[in-house]
Every structure is written in structure tokens, then in C-alpha cells.
């Protein structure tokens, strides 16, 4: 097996790089030349680890879901990122990047958000550090993730609706990038997933790699081996999956399963299953797999889950897909909803809609009874209660 790693130009195989207009070059270049040095400095690591422990509540538990295991027919462990402060894995990266931004002398923080989890996480760390925070969010997402909009506002962030295109995550990302172009000196752009120009995909993956670092230790304690048979995670841009896979990328015996959002069905015209529907393209600064028309216009995706409603995928995942190192599955809106209720009733855990896609992936794999499977439960479902209640009452359009 070819080693999975990033090269010096920011490519995983054929995917990655930095396809950015010159206006962004100085900022991206500064990050590229300094991110590794800064993030592995003793003082940085000390503060980062301290906040992950005492502020976020890490390590997040690795929970053996007994009743779900019986139902599925394998040993299912849930990596409880939903128990993190602010309710999802996004806080790991937000803390990392804001600490980094401070060390770069930046005073103004911008972010894009889909489900609002990354926006809340970024607003939270900015409140903690006394930094100005501006979050771009698609107008459609503002509506469907109202609790998170309220949280961001209470945290003191300014939420700016992105009104172009499909008014979801892609457009919020465009607006954030334009903001960065217009504010080149005082601003750091905290990207929320393993997307964007190099070094973002690598930097975000490293900040999220705490997830698999902990899984290795926790599994060893619980099963005697650091290695599961399967790792399963949902993929929007791919940051919780990247964090879950990171320390296993080159462990051949561990199967890496990524679950994308099929929306109303892969071929329904309302889907966000990028690897199934996309082709090689450039989006938001990197070469990857992109959902697009024959003319190279980016397609407006659909998913019931705002965090997965994105027409691209990080370059690491494009490479895992192309090299066949990863197994790529998809789950529809309905399948995800069903899993959300299933987990809630079996285990008393209300998952985020995004994470419910990962759970739906479990139905599509052929397990042996003794297989050890770790699912990244990337976030909790508080933000999705409105959708869940509508589903319960049969009101979903």
C-alpha cells in the first residue's frame, strides 16, 4: 500500500494545492510557512492541550454501545465528540486555529459555517480570547439551524447571511474568502473543515487528529488492541473523518469508511454525495472532487443536514477515494433520520443529523460478530430538534 501523506506542495496524490487569487497569496503563504512551527511549539501545545482538557472536556469518551451492537451484529463503539463543549468535534480545530491566529498577531477572526457548529465553536473561542468574530452562514442554513444562530449572537459574534447561490455552506465559504481578500492584514480565516488551499486541509486534519490519538489509547484499554476493524465517519468537507482516520491512515488492516449525504437519493438531483457525483475540479482553493456541470459550474447540493450540504470534499478524502484506501458510502435524508431516532431510543443519545449519516453507514457494511467498529459521533442533536420534531409529526416536506 502506498503511504498516505501530504507532499510539500500540499497534495495528497492528485488532490490539494493552493488555487487562490494573488490577493490571498500573502496570507496563505504566511500560514504555510509558519503553521507547523507554531503548532508544535511547546507553549502552543501546552495551551492547546490544556484547553482541550479543561475547557472542552477531553478526552471524549469511547462508549461501547451495547444495544446498538446487538442490533447491528458487531462491537460498536461511539467516539463521543458530541460531549465536547459546544457539542461537536468542530471545537478542536477552532481552538487550534484561534491560538495560531493570535500568534500570527491577528485580531479579527472570520469563519464560514453550515450547521452552525463551526460558527459556534469559533465564536466561543473568540469570546474566550476577546477577539472580534464574524461568521458567514447561508441564508437557508440560518433558518434551519436557528438555535446555533442564537448561540453565536449571544457569544458576541456577528452572523452575516450569505445570499448568493444556494445560500448554504458553499456560498458562506465564498463570502468568507471575499472578506479575507478585503481584510488582508488583521484577519485570520478559520476554515471549519479539511478543505481550502494548502495548508488548511493538513492543518485542520492535524488539529482534529486528537480524535484518533485518543481512540488508539482508549481501544487498547478496552479491547487490548489499538486497531479496530472499521472506522466510520460522516463526510461534509471531511474534518471529523480526517480526525478519526488520521493515526490509522497507514494501518492497512483498519478499514476507513466515509459516509456522504445522498440527500433525496444519489440520482435524485438533490444530493450531496460528492464522490459519487463529482469529477476532478477546483473549489475553494484546492483541486479535489467537485459536483459540477459539464461546463464546470459548481452544482448546488442538497442534504437535510446543513453540515454535509457541500458540493466538494477535502483533498485527503478525494485521495482516499481514488486510491481505494477508503470505503465511500452514502446515506439518504430518510436513512439518517431513521438512525437518529434509532440511536436515541436504543442508547439515549440524540445525535446530530450529520453523525446520523455515519450511523446509517453501519447498515451497509457486512460485519462479522467480533468486528470492532468505531463510529465518530461527531455532534449532538440539539441544533436539529426542529427537524426531528417535524419528522416525528410527519411534517417534513
Amino acid at each position: 500500500m502506498q503511504k498516505i501523506e501530504i507532499d510539500q506542495n500540499g497534495y495528497y496524490g492528485n488532490f490539494g494545492g493552493a488555487y487562490i487569487p494573488e490577493m490571498l497569496y500573502p496570507n496563505v503563504e504566511e500560514l504555510k510557512s509558519k503553521y507547523l512551527e507554531i503548532m508544535y511549539e511547546d507553549s502552543f501545545q501546552k495551551e492547546f492541550q490544556y484547553l482541550l482538557r479543561d475547557y472542552v472536556g477531553r478526552p471524549s469518551p469511547l462508549y461501547f454501545a451495547e444495544r446498538l451492537s446487538t442490533q447491528i451484529g458487531a462491537k460498536i463503539y461511539l467516539k463521543r465528540e458530541d460531549l465536547n463543549h459546544t457539542g461537536a468535534h468542530k471545537i478542536n480545530n477552532a481552538i487550534g486555529q484561534v491560538l495560531l491566529a493570535q500568534r500570527l498577531g491577528k485580531t479579527r477572526i472570520i469563519a464560514e459555517t453550515g450547521a452552525g457548529q463551526h460558527g459556534v465553536a469559533t465564536a466561543t473561542v473568540c469570546a474566550l480570547k476577546g477577539l472580534q468574530c464574524i461568521v458567514y452562514m447561508g441564508a437557508v442554513d440560518i433558518e434551519r439551524q436557528a438555535p446555533n444562530v442564537a448561540r453565536m449572537k449571544m457569544l458576541g459574534a456577528k452572523v452575516i447571511p450569505a445570499k448568493s447561490g444556494s445560500q448554504t455552506l458553499k456560498d458562506a465559504t465564498n463570502e468568507a474568502i471575499r472578506d479575507w481578500i478585503n481584510n488582508p492584514t488583521d484577519t485570520h480565516y478559520v476554515i471549519g473543515s479539511v478543505v481550502g488551499p494548502h495548508p488548511y486541509p493538513d492543518m485542520v486534519a492535524r488539529f482534529q487528529s486528537i480524535i484518533s490519538e485518543e481512540i488508539r489509547k482508549q481501544l487498547k484499554e478496552k479491547t487490548g488492541s489499538e486497531l479496530p476493524d472499521y472506522l466510520v465517519a460522516c463526510v461534509g468537507g471531511g474534518s471529523n473523518a480526517a480526525g478519526t482516520f488520521y493515526h490509522y491512515l497507514n494501518e492497512e488492516d483498519v478499514k476507513l469508511v466515509a459516509v456522504e449525504a445522498a440527500g433525496k437519493g444519489i440520482h435524485s438531483g438533490m444530493s450531496a454525495a460528492t464522490t459519487q457525483l463529482g469529477t476532478l475540479g477546483v473549489l475553494h482553493g484546492s483541486k479535489s472532487i467537485v459536483m459540477q456541470t459539464e461546463d464546470g459550474q459548481v452544482v448546488e447540493p442538497h442534504s437535510i443536514s446543513a453540515g454535509l450540504d457541500y458540493p466538494g470534499i477535502g483533498p485527503l478524502h478525494a485521495h482516499l477515494f481514488e486510491s481505494k484506501r477508503g470505503i465511500f458510502l452514502s446515506a439518504t435524508d430518510d436513512e439518517a433520520l431513521k438512525e437518529a431516532f434509532n440511536l436515541t431510543r436504543l442508547e439515549g443519545i440524540i445525535p446530530a443529523l450529520e453523525s446520523s449519516h455515519a450511523l446509517a453507514g453501519l447498515r451497509k457494511l457486512d460485519f462479522k460478530k467480533e468486528d470492532v467498529v468505531v463510529v465518530c459521533l461527531s455532534g449532538r442533536g440539539d441544533k436539529d430538534m426542529d427537524t426531528y420534531m417535524k419528522s416525528l409529526n410527519g411534517d417534513l416536506g
Binding site: N9, M23, Y25, I181, N182, V282, E294, D295, Q297, V298
Partner: protein, 256 residues
């Protein structure tokens, strides 16, 4: 024959490059707009290929692009419209766009087709220098297309010189770090352009982003070879009943 080189050989002051979006305001207005620009004093035309995610563009150009896409503009349709344009248009024309649609068309095929239609050069702001050097530069050269890099006030001297060396035709000086169509202080712009002048670059320099009227045109022309106007002209077209008249009025207000 190199039209861009000829242009600058004959005129190296107050060169006016005007940006328009293909397929805007109407699908079939592309050539009407180009003719109006040529007839009213544009020395060069930057023809924008609309894209769903134009990161470097402000609202005005974004809007024109969305309308053009809704109108049905694609690269294929554009090339069909440009089939005989050289019978009517003699000023140099550069295509401006983003890399993704060009990659989908096929980079080499795109260059081959554009060159055979009579296109003179390309501006692709998200083309990485390294990809230009390793891959795409040679293809454009093969078909005789100029490639124009952008530089900004934040671009280091060394990098400006590098990008100038790699560019041909002209160098695109972005007046300040911003998306298109933002207002800015032209005092700083003049200082920046003087700095660029002191580098003794190989290419002529055209200055764009924020140039919108006679005052700003004259300001950037003091220390560079000319200007690129985009958003202000698109705005003039937005409200136009008649493209020819609107173009005449607009250009007269800039260079008249």
C-alpha cells in the same frame, strides 16, 4: 501577429482595458457589447467567462455572472458566438475566468480553440504559479496565448519580478487588496504604482479594481500604462436601454 504587443508598441500611456461579462446583459449581447467598446475608445477588451463561484469578484460582477449563467452562457456557447468576431473586432481580447470551467473544457483544447478564434491572452486569477510553470504555461505558449498574472500592493518585490517574468502581454496591478468594485484611496494606489515603476518591469502595467471614472482613470494612468475598468461599466450596462448609447456615454465620461 501579436495584437497586445502591437497595441503597447503604438500606445503606452492611458491604455484603456474594459471588462465585460460574456452573455450579459443578454445571452446574445456579447458581441454587441464588444463592438460598442471598440467603437467608443476601448483599446483592449477583457471578456469575462461567468463562473458560479467567482472568489475574486465583488457583488456587481458576481451578479452579472449569475445573470449570464441564467441566460445560458457556457464556454461552448461563447466560442460559438466568437466564431467570426475577428471580422468585426480588431482590438486585442483577453479572456478572464476561473480555472475550473477551463479545466472541465480541457485546458489544451481550450487554448487551441481560443487561439484559433483570435483570442490574444488569458487571465485566470486562481492559476497557481507552480501549475503555470510545471504544466499550463507551455500549453498557452504553444498556442501563442499571453498569460497575465495579477500583483497586489501586498505582493513582495521579488514575487512581482517573478510574476512579471512569467507574464506576457501586460501585468495586471490590482490597486489594493480587495475584491472587484470596492472604493479605495487613490493616494495609496499612486504610491504603490510608483513603487512598481521603480522595479523596471518587462511588461506594461495596467491597473484595475476600483477604477470607475475620469478621476480614478487619470490617477492610475499617471504611474502605469493604463487602466482596467470592470464593475463601473457593468453597472452602466445594468441600467441601459441601449447598449451602444450606454457604452458611449460611459466611456465618454472616462476618457472624453
Amino acid at each position: 501577429m501579436n495584437r497586445i504587443k502591437n497595441l503597447f508598441d503604438n500606445k503606452n500611456k492611458n491604455v484603456l482595458n474594459v471588462y465585460c461579462t460574456a452573455g450579459f446583459p443578454k445571452l446574445n449581447s456579447t458581441l454587441v457589447v464588444m463592438k460598442a467598446l471598440q467603437n467608443n475608445g476601448a483599446d483592449l477588451i477583457e471578456l469575462g467567462m461567468p463562473y458560479s463561484d467567482p472568489l475574486a469578484d465583488g457583488e456587481v460582477i458576481q451578479q452579472s455572472g449569475s445573470i449570464a449563467l441564467k441566460n445560458g452562457m457556457t464556454i461552448k456557447v461563447l466560442f460559438e458566438q466568437l466564431k467570426n468576431f475577428r471580422k468585426e473586432i480588431s482590438v486585442p481580447v483577453v479572456l478572464m475566468g476561473y480555472l475550473n470551467p477551463v479545466l472541465q473544457y480541457g485546458f489544451e483544447k481550450f487554448c487551441e480553440d481560443a487561439a484559433s478564434l483570435g483570442i490574444d491572452g488569458l487571465i485566470l486569477p486562481d492559476m497557481p504559479q507552480i501549475s503555470f510553470e510545471n504544466e499550463y504555461g507551455a500549453i498557452m505558449k504553444k498556442y501563442g496565448l499571453d498569460f497575465i498574472f495579477l500583483v497586489t500592493p501586498e505582493t513582495s518585490e521579488e514575487r512581482v519580478k517573478n510574476l512579471d517574468e512569467l507574464s506576457s502581454g501586460f501585468l495586471y496591478a490590482v490597486s489594493s487588496s480587495s475584491t472587484t468594485g470596492k472604493d479605495k484611496s487613490f493616494e495609496d494606489v499612486e504610491k504603490y504604482l510608483q513603487r512598481l515603476q521603480s522595479y523596471s518591469l518587462k511588461n506594461p502595467v495596467l491597473t484595475g479594481f476600483g477604477v470607475k471614472d475620469k478621476t480614478t482613470f487619470e490617477s492610475v494612468c499617471k504611474y502605469s500604462n493604463g487602466a482596467i475598468i470592470g464593475s463601473a461599466y457593468i453597472k452602466a450596462l445594468e441600467n441601459a436601454n441601449d447598449i451602444a448609447t450606454a457604452t458611449q456615454t460611459f466611456l465618454a465620461s472616462v476618457i472624453g
